[in-house]
Symmetry: C2
Subunit: 344 residues, 2 copies
């Protein structure tokens, strides 16, 4: 009965797709299940029953409202999978399972939804996680914006690994960043503002679970791991300084920023240190751990450009300070303004 | 520095609250953390590290877009906690931890958000779960509708309990419902349409974890447990019939419907069997288990009105059939239309 199936080529989301009846069921059976295929999802029960490996369980959630839905280097689906996987990785966990909840706006092309779902499935395979449960709701035209996706991740910290935490930075520690910063945010902004550059700026959206596990394997007591998403590197460093009650001093060496990103940032009057990353991490570790951590990062494709960018110091004000190339100092403030709405 | 705090009495959500900087941080520190207070949330890391008790882990997710946000008997916050707790309970799990992700519309009164957050905290205490991780995004005016909340639940199936599942109904089993059906959906519709009745219709939104554990304690092999939410009892029974490859015959005895709900349903031309419930469950078990299951339910405040309503039979068509009081038979179809948008 072909006529009863979803018309993925020309169809659009309507309110019946969120009503919990036949249309909802069809969306699940014809779109979500084949794409995310796994046993708990096939069971079609209210919750997925899982067998976790030994270790401490880890749970995290994020909701994605990025605009536009598709951008150079990714889309909301890839972002939703990678962002949540990365939050698990940042506490030292092996990412295992995701859930995905969709708020669809009436009128959304089913072809766009399908493209997003396929992209999620591909990112999940890349990150070696399964999407075991989901939900779909539909809101009237003008009460949403195409698609919002909430993803929650479950992982396990392997036995022997001490979970990194934002409150664990200590004076004497060094600060490492895994590569070029500002790519994701500038890709979104460039594409939103219709900016054209010689080399297009591409989002760095990528899963970091494998890199993080390679790092904890050589240094099982990394003090802090963070992915500098919203608010960028500057905000992440300020959060850590505040949580740990320390100061952070950026070293002379420049924080790696791609020329195209730096150019676009200058054009738009934005500091790339405040721009979101979706495939980069910051690690803070004891100075003695830094060399082998850096080697392990350089040996991994997602950490090839890793560099030490600063030091943790005692500072009752918890300032993050930058020394300019001319020897001057400036404090890297918290981002207080909404420079970049709906970047993730 | 009072001026830098949130103005919960007169303030409104703006785009900075979702930008990941100081304003986001303030929202977390002054609203979410005090309300949901627990150790993983206080740690302010990307993910919550948890120690789970023995048993199989269970994960579920739902996103809530109910309109209006506040309704007789509940609000979107209470609904978001209870709905997700109930999905865990329906596979035999003890609900333990929740995550909550918010999509806020620019302009939302902070007082409304605060009221919703307090209601979530109260429901979490009632359900004995902790909200261990969260996320907040803000979308521009006209790109959302006040608040959407995605909640994900983690629980554990105690050792010795066989997880109920929608595919486990067998011919000869009996079908039990825990109380009056249609309350939640009719409460939303009445309040949306401004209908006035002598006795107002109140949503049944409530956590069912405790009732479900009382049930699995006396009958550790309940075949199916489901909360008949979207699509109501009729859709739930059809889903189970389809998943299990069986038919279901409703017994002569009436399915319990409150007079006010029946009256409102008639007025609106809606069958209460298709109306969402948020504090009721359906159990399908071996006939030999039914008496002690029913006793355990009757002894619990959330199951006081429990009744056997049908039998599972062999049926290649997987029909759910009702025998009318006059002896006629009708098939209870799947709900195919969007009768009730944004009911949860």
């Amino acid at each position: 009965m072909r006529s009863r199936g979803l018309d993925l080529a020309r169809g659009r989301v309507d309110l019946t797709h969120g009503a919990g009846g036949r249309a909802t069921s069809r969306l699940v059976e014809e779109l979500f299940q084949p794409a995310f295929d796994n046993a708990p999802l096939r069971a079609r029960d209210d919750a997925a029953v899982l067998d976790l490996p030994p270790g401490r369980a880890v749970l995290t959630t994020d909701v994605y409202v990025v605009s536009p839905l598709f951008f150079p280097g990714g889309d909301i689906g890839r972002l939703a999978v990678c962002g949540t996987v990365n939050d698990l990785a940042m506490v030292g966990a092996r990412p295992l399972n995701l859930t995905a909840a969709f708020v669809l706006e009436e009128g959304l092309e089913l072809a766009s939804l399908s493209r997003i779902v396929q992209s999620m499935a591909a990112a999940a395979r890349e990150a070696d996680v399964t999407i075991v449960a989901g939900d779909t709701k539909v809101v009237e035209r003008g009460k949403g914006d195409g698609v919002f996706i909430a993803t929650t991740g479950l992982g396990v910290v392997p036995p022997g690994v001490t979970s990194p935490g934002g409150a664990r930075a200590r004076p004497g520690d060094v600060v490492i960043v895994s590569g070029f910063v500002g790519d994701h945010g500038m890709a979104i902004l460039s594409c939103r503002d219709g900016l054209a550059f010689e080399s297009p700026i591409v989002s760095d959206t990528a899963p970091l679970g494998d890199l993080a596990l390679a790092m904890t394997a050589v240094a099982p007591d990394i003090h802090v791991l963070r992915d500098p998403t919203r608010g960028g590197l500057a905000t992440t460093l300020n959060e850590v300084a505040s949580q740990s009650g320390v100061g952070i001093r950026r070293r002379e060496r420049d924080i790696p920023v791609r020329p195209a990103v730096a150019a676009a940032a200058e054009l738009l009057g934005i500091d790339p240190l405040y721009v979101a990353n979706e495939g980069k991490l910051v690690a803070i570790c004891a100075a003695t751990d830094a060399p082998r951590l850096l080697s392990a990062m350089h040996a991994h494709p997602r950490g090839a450009d890793a560099a030490i960018i600063g030091d943790v110091v005692e500072d009752g004000d918890h300032f993050v300070e930058i020394t300019s190339t001319f020897g001057g100092r400036r404090i890297l403030e918290w981002s207080s303004a909404e420079q970049l709405p709906r970047i993730c």
